[in-house]
């Protein structure tokens, strides 16, 4: 049986991390975004969760706290899936995509645990570069999510 692991990281060896994923990064933009995410993780600004399938790291998500209109929120800072698995449903995992597993883990496992102690109202996502395709993907994945447009930026919010 295939094994799924999720590894929580608060501190990362940046060089090793970037080297591990270097062949799965699509372009300089992605590389720079990941580097920034890792730097911020090492400064304690976010936490990264890596998804591992049979000991191969296939995706990761960076999350942090924020506020919107005074409502405490959990922000997805960045969600990365290796090139070879992008858009692919995993047959051995109920046809779910890696991104669905990670987002589901945040929504169903992490947020409820935080909510036992602190109020959280929203999960927020920012589709970088006003990427309509990505925004639509999030909206289709999370049917109760909605768009919030403010100051020429579009955010995706989900009540949690």
């Amino acid at each position: 049986m295939m094994q799924l692991n999720i590894i929580k990281l608060n501190k990362i060896d940046k060089v090793t991390f970037l080297n591990y994923f270097k062949n799965e990064i699509q372009n300089n933009r992605e590389y720079d975004l990941i580097k920034k995410l890792v730097n911020d993780c090492n400064k304690g600004k976010n936490t990264i969760y890596i998804l591992e399938i049979n000991n191969k790291k296939v995706a990761f998500i960076g999350v942090s706290f924020d506020r919107i209109n005074d409502y405490p929120s959990v922000s997805v800072e960045y969600l990365f899936v290796i090139k070879s698995l992008r858009g692919k449903k995993l047959k051995n995992f109920y046809n779910k995509k890696s991104s669905e597993i990670l987002l589901g883990y945040v929504i169903k496992e992490i947020i409820p645990k935080i909510k036992e102690y602190i109020a959280i109202k929203y999960l927020t996502l920012y589709p970088d570069m006003q990427n309509q395709k990505l925004a639509n993907y999030y909206l289709s994945l999370l049917p109760s999510a909605f768009k919030l447009k403010e100051n020429k930026e579009t955010w995706i919010l989900l009540k949690v």
């Binding site: 990362i12 920034k36 960045y78 597993i101 927020t124 996502l125 100051n151 955010w155």
Partner: protein, 61 residues
């Protein structure tokens, strides 16, 4: 917080601090909504996910 890639540089951007009245109302309305994601993510329970807490990323070979 999130990242925005603009003109070759990455900016860390915050959620908007001030919202239009329309958006304020939308958030207030949505904040009252009861949600339940048990069904949407029921697959998670079947996946047998093991979770590890690594303070140092030393598992990469």
């Amino acid at each position: 917080m999130a990242y925005k890639w603009e003109n070759g540089k990455i900016k860390r951007i915050s959620l908007p601090k001030k919202l239009s009245k329309k958006n304020q109302k939308l958030l207030e309305k949505m904040a009252e909504m009861e949600v339940n994601y048990d069904e949407s993510f029921s697959f998670l329970k079947k996946l047998n996910i093991k979770v590890y807490d690594a303070t140092e990323y030393n598992k990469i070979k």
